[in-house]
Subunit: 163 residues, 3 copies
C-alpha cells in the first residue's frame, strides 16, 4: 500500500478487517500502547451518543482532538481502572466502506462491548457504531478520526476503558 487512501484489493480488505479486529482485541487485552499505535500521528477520538450526533449536538462523552489528548486520556483511564476493576470483551461486526474524502476512507462497523466485574458477572455494557476515517500511514492502515456513536446517552457506569 502507498501512503494515502486505502485501496480495494483483497489484501486491503483484509487489512481493514485486521485493523478492527486488533482495535477490539488490544483494548480487551489492556495493551493500550499497541492500541494507540493503531491511530495516525495526527488523529482524533470522540465518543458521542448517537442521538446527539444525529441532531448535530456537539456534546460528547469523550473528546480527544489530538494524539496528545488521546494519550492523556488513556493514562487517566488506566488510573481510574484501578478503582473499577473489570475486563472488556468487544464484538465488532464486518466493516463497511461508506465513502471517501481526500486521502481517507470512511468506514463503519457495529460493535457490542461486554464487561465482567470482579464478582465474575458479565453484562452488556454498550452497543453502537464506529464511524471512522482511515488512512494509510507508514505502510499500514491507521485511524485518523475515530467516532464512537453510542446507542444510548445513558452509559451505565464509568467509562473506565476506551470503547
Amino acid at each position: 500500500m502507498t501512503e494515502g487512501a486505502p485501496g480495494g484489493s483483497a489484501g486491503d480488505r483484509f487489512a481493514l478487517c485486521d485493523l478492527f479486529a486488533n482495535y477490539g482485541a488490544l483494548i480487551d487485552a489492556a495493551e493500550f500502547d499497541a492500541w494507540l499505535a493503531l491511530f495516525a500521528a495526527t488523529c482524533a477520538y470522540h465518543i458521542v451518543p448517537r442521538e446527539n450526533y444525529e441532531r448535530g449536538l456537539p456534546a460528547g462523552l469523550v473528546y480527544c482532538d489530538s494524539r496528545g489528548m488521546l494519550e492523556d486520556r488513556i493514562r487517566a483511564l488506566r488510573e481510574a481502572n484501578k478503582y473499577n476493576i473489570h475486563t472488556d470483551r468487544h464484538l465488532i461486526g464486518l466493516p463497511r466502506l461508506v465513502g471517501e474524502g481526500g486521502d481517507a476512507k470512511l468506514v463503519e462497523a457495529p460493535f457490542t462491548v461486554y464487561q465482567t466485574d470482579q464478582e465474575g458477572e458479565t453484562r452488556l455494557f454498550a452497543t453502537g457504531l464506529y464511524r471512522d476515517r482511515i488512512v494509510v500511514e507508514a505502510g499500514g492502515l491507521k485511524f485518523r478520526d475515530k467516532l464512537v456513536l453510542l446507542d444510548t446517552f445513558a452509559v451505565p457506569s464509568l467509562l473506565a476503558t476506551p470503547l
Copy 2:
C-alpha cells in the same frame, strides 16, 4: 459478476460480506428504501421461530411472499414505529456458504439484535440465524429468499422493525 449464482472469487466473498453488513447497517440507520434495494425483484422474506421451522410447522411471525408484500410490511412497520420509538443495533457473524440450488447460493449467518428505547436502556432483543438464498441480479448480490430463524418463539415486544 454475471447474472445467476454468485461465484467463489475473493471479490465475490467480500461482496457477500458487504451484503450482510449493509443489511444490518441499513436497518439500524432506518434507511428502509436502501434496505429494500438489497432484495431481488422477485423475493420473499419470512421470520419463523427456529422450533417451528425444525418441526416443519409453517407458522411464522412475518410472512412476505412477494416484493409487494415486503414493501407493504415496511410501510406498516414505519407507522408502528411511531408508537414504539427505539433504535436497533445488529451484530451479524461471518456468512457461511452451505449449499447451492439452481442459480442461487444458500448462505447462513448468525445474528443478534439489540434495541435501545427512549429512556436510553439497551436490551438484547433477538438472536437467530439468517438462512438466505442469494442471487446475482443487475451486477450485484441480492436476497431472493430471506429466512430469519428466531431462537425463541417468545419475541419480547412488538416487531416494529425488520430483523
Copy 3:
C-alpha cells in the same frame, strides 16, 4: 494448501473465516460429528477462565488432551443436554493471526454465546476469547489446540454444550 502451517493468501484468509464460522454454526445446529471433524487427528480442547490462564493456574472447566477425550466429552454433553434442554447461538468476531509456532498458526477470535431455554427466554451465557493453534491437515484447516478463555470464572449454569 499444503500440509503444515496455513499461508496468507486471500483463499487462506477466507478458509480461516470459514473454520470459525463453521465452528460456531455446527454447535448451534447440534451437529457434533461435523463439529468434531473440524479438529485435527491429534488435538486438544480446553475451557479455562481467563483469570486462571493469565495467572498461570492450570485449573480449567473442561480439559480434553486428546481426540478420544474430546469425543467422550461430546457424548457426555449429549446425555447431559437431555436434562438441560436449550439451544445455543454463537457470535464470533473476526479471527486475528497473532503468531506462528512450528507448523501451526496461533489465531484469536472473540465470541459471545447466547442460550435459549424451553420457556423461550434467551440469555447471554458466556463471553470470551478463542486462542487456537490451527494447522493444515488433509487439505483443510483444523484446530490442533483450541483454548476457550472465558471472561468469567462463574459460569451461570451447566456447560451442557461445547463453547
